[in-house]
Symmetry: C2
């Protein structure tokens, strides 16, 4: 039987995940991680090689969680438009930004292939899921045959990520919603009418 108390390594990883989301990689110090986890220097360097190692594990976990949620949401029922709408309109803390997309602005993350890879894989996963749904929709007559599923999927992911950027820039979550409303309206124009 495992201890009911969450162990120190686990608390360090979770604290790192929160801080990476709030402050980015450059802005997250080992000291702040230790303070949040309630641990001492020794614990961190016992369980992990250092800041980069801990960050890699934290980012990996966040990316895996996001991909799992994408898989779950797109596996559901509904037309292409319905599933895309559900994904774009799903509840989220817009002003916190995307825990994965936000890291792309961090030059130390982008420069380190170990840190960047989970980000790339997450975008790839999301794009693939969207492209799959769009292809389905096109092939069963929901969309105009001229619609390109992969380019359109890229556009939808970009609207999502750009929506976070606009919202944070204006300190107003509604900016995200406007961008989503706009892309859904445009997608509607690409639908085949009977």
């Amino acid at each position: 039987m495992y201890s009911r108390r969450v162990d120190t390594a686990e608390r360090l990883i979770e604290s790192t995940r929160e801080l990476l989301w709030e402050r980015g990689y450059i802005g997250t110090s080992p000291k702040s991680i230790l303070a949040r986890a309630g641990a001492g220097q020794g614990s961190m360097y016992h369980h992990f090689k250092g800041k980069a190692d801990l960050a890699r594990i934290a980012i990996d976990r966040t990316a895996r969680e996001l991909r799992a949620e994408v898989d779950r949401l797109f596996a559901g029922p509904g037309t292409a438009v319905e599933r895309i709408t559900a994904y774009l309109r799903r509840e989220r803390d817009v002003l916190k930004g995307c825990p994965i997309g936000g890291l792309t602005q961090d030059s130390d993350v982008i420069a380190d292939p170990e840190l960047r890879r989970p980000i790339e894989e997450t975008f790839q996963c999301l794009r693939d899921s969207l492209a799959g749904v769009l292809t389905e929709g096109r092939d069963n007559g929901e969309f105009d045959p001229s619609l390109d599923p992969t380019d359109t999927a890229s556009t939808i992911v970009a609207v999502l990520q750009g929506g976070y950027v606009l919202a944070r820039g204006a300190n107003d979550a509604a900016q995200f919603d406007h961008a989503v409303t706009g892309i859904l309206a445009l997608l509607d124009h690409a639908r085949v009418r009977q």
Copy 2:
């Protein structure tokens, strides 16, 4: 007659602009600014109150430049789609990211109204320009009357900002182009055919 040699304050501002673009606000130290400008501590604190003051002036200038270019590009001739295409396809160093949009990920920037304001104003300016062009296009019959110019403008700015995010995440500028191609195709579906 002014000295031909660019003065120290000017070099400090330009160095700060570059570093903010490359490393963000948190990641830019006074030391790195001084090294790039070839100046000593004393010069910086003589001309500016400190890092935040210098950053504010640098961000203001970058934002103003961007807005001026937006005004210039949208004042040109052409249909709505042509002008929007020209803006989205204009040459840019995609992998460096947007010098304004990238700052939205920086929590210290977003938390300081003085630093955030020029970002908000720049997005507002871009959205207004796009909305103006889209309204024109809708009113002269280029677009379907059901097209909402302001939501669509938000979407286009989001695609732009999100395109940078995707490109940096994949370390591949083509990701930006895919997203742009997708939104232009969707806009085409909203056009009125004769």
